[in-house]
Amino acid sequence: MIETVRLSKTFGANKALNDISLQINEGEITGLVGTNGAGKSTLLRIIAGILRPDSGQVSVDGKAVYDNPEAKRDFFFVPDEPYFFTNANGLSMAAYYESIYPTFDMDRFRKLSEAFSLPVKSRISTYSKGMKRQLSILLAVSSGTKYIMLDETFDGLDPVMRTAVKSLFAEEMSERGLTPFISSHSLRELEDICDHVGLLHKGGLLLSESLDDMKTGLLKLQCVFSDEGDISTVKENLHIMADERQGMLHVMTVKADRAKALEVFSHIDTVFFEILPLSLEELFIAETEDNGYDVRKLIIQ
């Protein structure tokens, strides 16, 4: 488990991180969402042991990270702008990482690069931005580390490649318990991949929850009441977080479990009633609205 406890970091007059406590559990894909300047890269660079926090602690499986090779052997950090040696090609970079990471699997890298049709014998300087990101991901996966941290690496991958990388992660997670930690400035980029999501805004962590937990307590209901007065009955029995009307149609986000909602609506005469799945975006909107944040402006693009 990667754990941060009350992390703070300031750059000059700019408070980049403020009292961040976060847990990244093994076997889950954790996403970190935030606008540009929210502090995502700073948090990842602290966790990767590049930056030293002003206060607070970071540990990877209980080991302090900063300047500790033993802890760093357990993770691979893919920054938003990956660096490759001048004149290097994919294979020479893989050879480099093979000498750095004891768990690096060169055969795996060769197979993956073939599967992803990456020209690993060509100079990296001839690669497109997307190809460089693919190479970074393949190097990270082949390193055999327990954790992979990706800083906005998914942003900019085309849909086909995103799907392929997701499958790759799923395979690695099931085979050897890989734990990816992904940051993005767009919630939609992480929607179908993460098990756990944290929302970072202006250096503070607005929320960090498991998607299952979030989904368990929240429902999206669509209904047309026979008698519009019945809405008061619903309000009395369920916590309505949002209610949007389109003519006679109510689209409500309610804080309740499925059984309770069905039980309430069983006593109400409706023309139409349906329980719908909540998107990640809707979950975030519902969770953050109470705090006075318009999450749509923060992370949905």
Partner: protein, 593 residues
């Protein structure tokens, strides 16, 4: 912690990776050294036609390109070693990997030393093989080459760590290059600047001129790194100091410093004050190179202020990477400029009364004088040790004559003497005087005295030389065109020849006085050089005047004398008046009595 095996294997991997990424430096180092040692030096060794000892010494010690290659190589390797610290992308790459900062630092340093050492020694080996085929090799060459390598290696270390320190102090490679230039040249510039200012004292003592003795600058040792073992120690000191500072700065360096030109505020401030101080002093050189200095004091001050504004502006622009920031931190500009002004005006108006100082005879134990023009380091130390003049009143009168001469004309001509008083309180105080030709007679009692002769001519206390079983004696003379030539060099165990010459020379010195020293044309000079394992240890010169008949006869008996008189039109001996006489036009006396 890793196990021993895992640690060494990890270390080898890091070295391999480093070499892989520094191929261009490895190739450059090998090519350069092979060109120098493998081609140039080998050819020179194979074709140089002279005495074997001098061949090795001349070729390996005085050519000097190896030092230039060493310095340039050290700077390149030093700047390249940690240049990635100025880039966030590269820093993320290196510092996120499972390699400790310490390992990375140590491995990089060792890698750099390895590149230098391997390319140097391998090319030397190739050079020796080629020279051996050409018949130009002998044992002394090998020994000198090894000594040369050791000295160059220490020079490399000091220059390399200065470059590393420059990178650690900055967060931008271009600023690091500037910082390295400042660090390397700071010592000589600092000394020169201070002494330039002290030049306004007019009679300042040459012997006691301010110097840091190269403690803070490896470049000081370049000029004599092949001659003195002290250079090794000074370079070692520079290397260790910059290594420790570099490592501490690296260890505590923050990732966010990448891209910041000079991250540490304290370094910014100190550097700014010191550089402005130096530039202000240096700027006075533009206004003080003539006798117009008296009238130009106001101009000097104005130039200093302008320098402070310009240099301060440039530094703030570099610090902030923004030309609009040029006038920030003016307090430090004022501090640097004020310090320079205080020094300049203090020296110019002789606030400390330096020029006016004349010691009371009862406070002085003894004294020694060294003619400034006699450029012989051994003689200076010899005089310091053996010359014990006790006629303090005469020396004080010379001091007064010198002061009056300077007051009348700061650029007066004459013999420049450094008079050093050994005070009874244990201190030594030195003053420089210029004695014009018209006042030479005042020096006669000093020059005639036995205590002067014993402290000036190295034949009186020569155990330093005679204790060596191997030394060379050479007679140099001036040919008709006043160009230096030599008859022959006697090397090996020749103590008897030396004793014969010595005896004759001491006899001739009986008649030596200021007239001989200043007005008699020098026929030539005898060079005595001691050798240890074929390497020059020390050398000194004995002037031979035409009136030194005993010495000339002794030289003739050994077939070492050449009876040649240079044409007076070619005669320009300002630099060695005690050896070669003075031109009549210079002193107002007839040359060659």
């Amino acid at each position: 912690m890793m196990s021993g095996n895992s640690s060494s294997s990890n270390y080898i991997k890091i070295q391999k990776n480093l070499l892989g990424n520094r191929k261009w430096l490895v190739i450059l180092a090998f090519l350069t050294f092979i060109l120098y040692n493998g081609v140039f030096l080998a050819l020179a060794l194979s074709t140089y036609d002279a005495k074997p000892v001098m061949t090795a010494k001349d070729l390996l010690s005085y050519i000097g390109f190896d030092r230039i290659i060493t310095i340039v190589g050290a700077i390149l390797l030093g700047l390249e070693s940690f240049h990635w610290l100025d880039s966030r992308t590269k820093l993320d790459f290196y510092w996120s990997q499972p390699v400790s900062k310490r390992s990375l630092f140590v491995s990089t340093v060792i890698n750099s030393m390895g590149i230098y050492t391997a390319s140097y020694l391998l090319s030397l080996l190739i050079g020796f093989v080629i020279a051996g085929i050409g018949g130009g090799m002998n044992g002394s060459v090998l020994l000198l080459a090894f000594i040369g390598f050791i000295r160059n290696f220490f020079l490399f270390l000091s220059v390399y760590f200065y470059a590393v320190l420059a990178v650690m102090l900055t967060g931008n490679i271009i600023v690091a290059v500037i910082a390295d230039a400042v660090l390397l040249t700071f010592g000589p510039i600092f000394d020169w600047s201070i002494n330039h200012c002290m030049g306004f004292l007019k009679t300042r003592a040459y012997g006691s001129a301010f110097t840091t003795h190269g403690i803070l600058s490896p470049l000081y040792t370049v000029t004599d790194s092949m001659r003195t073992n002290g250079a090794i120690l000074r370079n070692l000191f520079c290397a260790l100091l910059s290594l420790v500072l570099s490592y501490l700065l690296y260890k505590h360096r923050k990732a966010e410093d990448a891209g910041n030109s000079v991250p540490l505020p304290v370094v910014r401030r100190i550097t700014k004050v010191i550089l402005i101080f130096l530039c202000c002093i240096l700027s006075t050189a533009f206004c003080s190179d003539s006798s117009t200095i008296t009238a130009a004091t106001g101009a000097v001050i104005a130039v200093m202020i302008i320098s402070a504004v310009v240099v301060g502006g440039i530094m703030e622009t570099i610090y902030n990477s923004d030309v609009r920031a040029a006038f920030r931190g003016y307090g430090y500009s004022i501090a640097g400029c004020a310090a320079a002004l205080i020094l300049f005006l203090g020296c110019y108006y002789d606030i400390a009364g330096y020029n006016r100082w004349v010691p009371a005879a009862q406070d002085v134990k003894s004294a020694y004088i060294t003619p400034e023009e006699v450029n012989d380091s051994y003689r200076s130390s010899y005089s310091k040790k053996y010359m014990k003049l006790t006629d303090i009143d005469t020396l004080n009168s010379l001091l007064t004559i010198g002061e009056q001469t300077i007051t009348r004309d700061p650029y007066a001509k004459g013999i420049r003497l450094n008079i050093s008083y050994r005070m009874k309180n244990g201190h030594t105080r030195t003053r420089r005087v210029i004695i014009p030709g018209s006042a030479f007679s005042s020096m006669n009692s000093v020059f005639k005295s036995q205590s002067f002769k014993e402290g000036f001519f190295t034949v009186y206390h020569d155990s330093h030389f005679t204790s060596q079983k191997d030394f060379g004696i050479t007679y140099y003379y001036m040919d008709k065109n006043a160009e230096e030539n030599r008859t022959k060099t006697v090397t090996g165990s020749n103590i008897d020849i030396y004793k014969k010459i010595r005896e004759a020379y001491i006899k001739d010195l009986d008649s030596y006085d200021i007239d001989t020293a200043a007005f008699e044309t020098q026929a030539g000079k005898i060079e005595i050089m001691t050798l240890e394992n074929g390497v020059e240890k020390e050398r000194t010169f004995l002037p031979v005047y035409k009136s030194f008949t005993n010495t000339i006869n002794a030289l003739k008996s050994e077939d070492m004398y050449a009876d040649v008189t240079p044409l007076s039109d070619y005669y320009d001996s300002d630099s060695m008046p005690f050896y070669l006489g003075q031109r009549s036009s210079f002193l107002g006396h007839e040359n060659d009595k």
